[in-house]
């Protein structure tokens, strides 16, 4: 089973409003690709992304797996650095770290630790079984 990762540079979303940012990312995920976004969304946008994923759920789309890798946590004790980072983020957006968003039909789980990020994919057998069931359901609905 192949897995397509699509890198989205922060510059691609920086000029967009919140709704368009979230929709852009969701459209990529709905093409069965895993988004690798430079930086991170705002907290409210993360919540919007979950809401939109819920609204999109149907027999084929089951939602998303989401993980934010945020290097700032390691520097949380350095107050001056945090203030500087906060100011830069305010002006230029939150470009630190990266965000992984994948369709739940492909990505079963995302595990992260300080040095690794692991994407656990659905095994090909269960995906094929699901597709076969879907084809049967579509055929029955068409009759």
């Amino acid at each position: 089973m192949s897995l397509t990762l699509q890198f989205v540079p922060y510059n691609d979303i920086v000029a967009l409003g919140s709704a368009r940012r979230v929709n852009k990312l969701m459209n990529i995920v709905k093409e069965n690709k895993v988004v690798l976004l430079e930086g991170r969304l705002k907290k409210e946008e993360e919540a919007d992304l979950i809401s939109i994923a819920m609204e999109e759920i149907d027999n084929k789309f089951k939602g998303i797996e989401l993980a934010v890798i945020d290097p700032k946590k390691e520097d949380s004790r350095n107050m001056f650095k945090n203030m500087k980072t906060g100011f830069v983020n305010l002006v230029l957006g939150d470009r630190q770290g990266f965000t992984v968003i994948g369709p739940a039909t492909i990505i079963k789980e995302i595990k992260k630790d300080p040095n690794n990020i692991q994407l656990f994919t659905m095994d090909a057998g269960s995906k094929r079984k699901r597709e076969a069931q879907q084809k049967l359901a579509d055929a029955a609905a068409a009759k």
Partner: protein, 211 residues
Amino acid sequence: MGFFTGFFNKFFGKLFLKKKDIKLGLYGPPNAGKTTLANTICKDILGEEMGTVSNIAHETREIQIKEQICIKSKDGKKELMFNLVDTPGIATKIDYEDFMKSGMKEAEAKQRAKEATKGVVDAIKWLDEMDSVVIVLDATKDPYSQVNITIVGNLAARDIPVLIAANKVDLKKADINKVKAAFPQYDVVGISAKYGKNIQDFYDALFKVIR
């Protein structure tokens, strides 16, 4: 004009807000024990349960509210009144086939999934309505999940006070220290909502958080 109306409503709304109008939300991932905690509080204070609980995820699919819950501090000197809002568990994915694995028929599973997705959307919408929030986490599970981090981040962004209830401490696998390490900026109370363990400590922690 809208700005002045908003300011007027906010300023005078806060000035004349009665304590009984405080909304305390129970948030968290599915099956963390939010409704079990709500039931324990309601049984303790009102003598009646709030909602049904189940081992199958997404049993609570609608916002439920119990009004005028009044708790007392350990020494009995202080009282706190609030409206308790139990919310559906927040998840990033819902698959009706998971419900079928729990023995549900396909139609019932699909209906439950549909209601559960709406429940998650409603729970997120209601974040703006809350005055304070208790995040209920299953202390036997990894607290660093993205859903937990997103909930905490959204509450912080809205400047809503938070208390974390590390639930299921009656179970051997529970690790309250891991929950504390994950969210060092918040008070964490270890409870067993099912058996009512540490509920008075939980009430006392609420006095610090609710405003």
